[in-house]
Symmetry: C2
Subunit: 636 residues, 2 copies
Amino acid sequence: MDVSETNTPHSKLRPLPLRDVKITGGFWAQRQRLNHHVTLFDGYKKLEEAGNLGNLRRAAGMSDEPYRGPVFMDEDVYKWLEALSHEIGNSVDPELVGLADKTISLIAAAQQPDGYLNSYYQVMAPDQKWADLDHGHEMYCAGHLIQAAVAHHRATGGDSLLNIARRLADHINTIFGPGGRDGTCGHPEIEMALVELYRETGEKRYLELAQVLVDRRGQKRMVGLGPYGPEYHQDRVPVRDSHRVEGHAVRQLYLLSGVVDIYLETGERALLDAAMRLWHDAFTGKMYITGGFGSRYEGESFGEPYELPSDRCYCETCAAVGSAMWNWRMLLATGEARFADELERVLYNGFLSGYALDGRHYFYMNPLESREGAERPGWHSVACCPPNIMRQISTVGHYIATRTGPIETTESGIQIHQYISSTLRAGKGPIGLSEGTPRTLSLETDYPHDGRVRITVDSTDGAPWQLSLRIPAWCLGPQLSVNGEPVSPAAAAGYATIERTWRPGDVVELSLPMSPRWVQPNPRVDAVRGSVAIMRGPFVYCLEETDQPYVSNLLDVRVDTACTLQENWDDDLLGGVMLVRARGQLEKGAEWAEQLYAPLDEETPSGTELTLTAIPYYTWANRGSVAMRVWIPRAT
Amino acid sequence: MDVSETNTPHSKLRPLPLRDVKITGGFWAQRQRLNHHVTLFDGYKKLEEAGNLGNLRRAAGMSDEPYRGPVFMDEDVYKWLEALSHEIGNSVDPELVGLADKTISLIAAAQQPDGYLNSYYQVMAPDQKWADLDHGHEMYCAGHLIQAAVAHHRATGGDSLLNIARRLADHINTIFGPGGRDGTCGHPEIEMALVELYRETGEKRYLELAQVLVDRRGQKRMVGLGPYGPEYHQDRVPVRDSHRVEGHAVRQLYLLSGVVDIYLETGERALLDAAMRLWHDAFTGKMYITGGFGSRYEGESFGEPYELPSDRCYCETCAAVGSAMWNWRMLLATGEARFADELERVLYNGFLSGYALDGRHYFYMNPLESREGAERPGWHSVACCPPNIMRQISTVGHYIATRTGPIETTESGIQIHQYISSTLRAGKGPIGLSEGTPRTLSLETDYPHDGRVRITVDSTDGAPWQLSLRIPAWCLGPQLSVNGEPVSPAAAAGYATIERTWRPGDVVELSLPMSPRWVQPNPRVDAVRGSVAIMRGPFVYCLEETDQPYVSNLLDVRVDTACTLQENWDDDLLGGVMLVRARGQLEKGAEWAEQLYAPLDEETPSGTELTLTAIPYYTWANRGSVAMRVWIPRAT
């Protein structure tokens, strides 16, 4: 689940409960409205059409429709229900509440008296329960149910779904708990769910179950599909001994999220050390500029360091969600800005590219180059991504801020990580309890289109505290003022921190210059050598063929990096975007068309000049299926 | 099969029977000796160890060992037996003859009374014969048996294996012949085998069977494995309507070889037109500089045009064999030098890289870059490649020359396509019949290490005829003399042709300058932008980490293309190779190690100078598993 709410002392930063954050306008409010009014309802329809709900009805004995789809169909319902629950918390809607209650009743009816719940095994293979841990996805689906239940409980206070989840978790614990059967799930996911269930219920057995499920990995017992080894299932090496991210990217990233969750509750340093090593491996060698992960179609897997092809990368939308979850937990554990930076990168690029502007179409893979264009499907036969997008959109408010405590110490403060128009309430006591006057703030901004952010202190107690504002690593020359007076606080480790005795009405203004800029790749990355990318603020840009009227093959375009990038807001295009224009050339590819290789002395004729128009990467493939590229070869 | 022997009028060039060509020394004689004395015997051992021979014994009722391996295990035996047969023809060896006879007896014992023969179905699924044409590989295996039988018949004159093959072909014809069951094999191969069986036996029904098996393709009836569509099985579009090479590369290339074989016998223009269109698509957009094909691991398939990653290309050794077979047939059909050029490219690079210098290890995939090195296995669980290498090596003499006729016309002549030390005999009548004095030649050369070729006319009739010598497209400034006198014949369409009344003892000397040279890729190929390759003669070169003592990461190497490439023969290295040295730089990758992407204005510090040593690509991975790359980034 995207939302981790914890009071543990190992969480260097404390999250704010989602109910204490309200997004009030701007970029994400627009997306939450789309999610609320279009995507969630469309999702319910798709879950009906694809058979997910029918499978549960069949399991409940309410119909005799045949089971449809792969073994893990239930999880799509649960992730959708989790998103729905968060959204009920974000903005009251009886229609959503009705959908949730109806679906919870269905799930309740499907659950067995012993707590077991999985429509595939109940309908198709009742004697095969827990027989194929490698591929059965039973704990994976259970994890998603648990996350939905915790979200529903937090949003509504009701325990109808939470009771179902607890019975299922207890059932699993009976079989697989400490001292029980020595197995774990082929697809990590339940670990973070169990930790969150522990947080929500206080029942330590859920945490302990999560621990043993992690501890049992790395014995090479699980065999991958086809030619893939045990790394596919995250079973090649024990977590604490691992030195590289490998295998199926989503499984690896989900596992690491759960591992950091366990660290946050137990403080077991070896787990955080492993997560730090793997983070270094992932983010210095295997990450796309969009924040995407998964260099290979084969096994939907990571590649070698610096293996980052633009065209055949997998970059699954779920891997982007996994990276966001992992970075969020790393941020909580360490307080280091780099994790918030990477969360921002993936959120605005590799994640958001999976969500069409109409709220009804998706991408499973998010390549950085498409020679022939790509059609966004309205749903997938393996539909993990669409409901993952829904729950990520519904919980994005969670990433805005954290607090530190305890009060009356110099570390007492509020940290702003993501700039989103919102109101924030940071109680002083543990989550769920408030002592005295809460500290409340309002953020107003047009971020990520504009770098100016205005923060008003709406209420506060009388004690001094620190307000820390993340200065994104991409930003040069930020400016800061308090009540109109420029201030120059030490920007330590990515945060500008102001400490004072705040008064209601105090206004902090932050300006993050976001002119478009050129970015170059590490020279070890073969796939994009001699090319540059354009970024502006957190957005990675791309060229889409639609915007290049004189180009018949996007492979022939070159960009002149000596030019100054021009920006131009277009309110009518793609929901409102800042276009970026550059001077470029159209290479005469025709001379080359008949040969793939030529002597070096045959010089390529210089091209004709033209203007190139770039759009934010996340908006591509919303105007039909045409060629696109993020990395643009440099004119030489 | 590699060897097509035909008298059809549609064959613009006529092949010489393999028995009329003897390789007498040099590069290929060395490899044929290795194949003869090491690889074929080792192969027999591996076929025993892997279970292939045991499967046939079980099918023959001679043992009760369990069936082992995938469904197509028989084909490995047949390809090995084909290679063995060719090699018996090349150089008499009672031990090889004994092995052949023993294996043929085993195959005879395994064949059913009705002619059916396939150990997998006979042992494992006797009621499933011909039930799964998509994946069963029954006709595929049969095709390999037929090719082995034709080879054995030609080499020995014996019909023990040919009779088995005819009975199997007749059995298949009864079921799938014209008007019979409307099916074809998921893996093309039998088409070219049946055409060759027609050539060998004169029985037209084999040609007609090949025709209907091709005609039935393209109805989208065959479903690929996993996510692959009907293109995987070459069933997306009818052959005559196809415009691009697609799907599984080996299947596509085998199919095209069979299609051109059918054209050669029937003269049906639509087939050659389709082959020409697909050749253009393949060789102007999808071929690696090594001649390799298959840009994707997924589906072992072709990619889009210009999708040519160096690291994750498939470039299966069998695809290289397929390309050689296809180009050979295109050459026969058209007489155009470009097909001989491409045959040469793939033979010396993408094919030969699959064969270890010790004659006992192989590569299945032949990437152009390996960051971490690769181990050559001694055999494969899917072992199609090793015996394909054996039969290719044993038949390489076939590619040396062709003849045109009929005698007494101006087109009468001999064409030399590949420069290999050998004696050649071009009879004037149809294949297998000789009229009057044959024309015989001796070739002496150290090609491909040295570009000088000496051709002596050993015997000839009194009529004038044309001697045509291919001038490789890579060669600038060839020189030619007859009996010591320089001549400057018109080099039309890739051939230098001398017409005269030859006398025994006439000597033609050809000199093909082969200084090492830089090659650049088409700018549409993203994967190797800003990089160059080194070639010398037909060889593509590569850098292997072993030869770069001061380099700890081959990704940090740059080459200075302003330098003059130096060559240096090393007799002791890798069986004797011409090393090529260039001036280069070692980039300071360390500064970059902590970031994948950086602002463009952060200039990469210039590197330290060093000398780079390149070896022929085919020799890589013979000194342990270390990093390798063909394309070298240019220092800027």
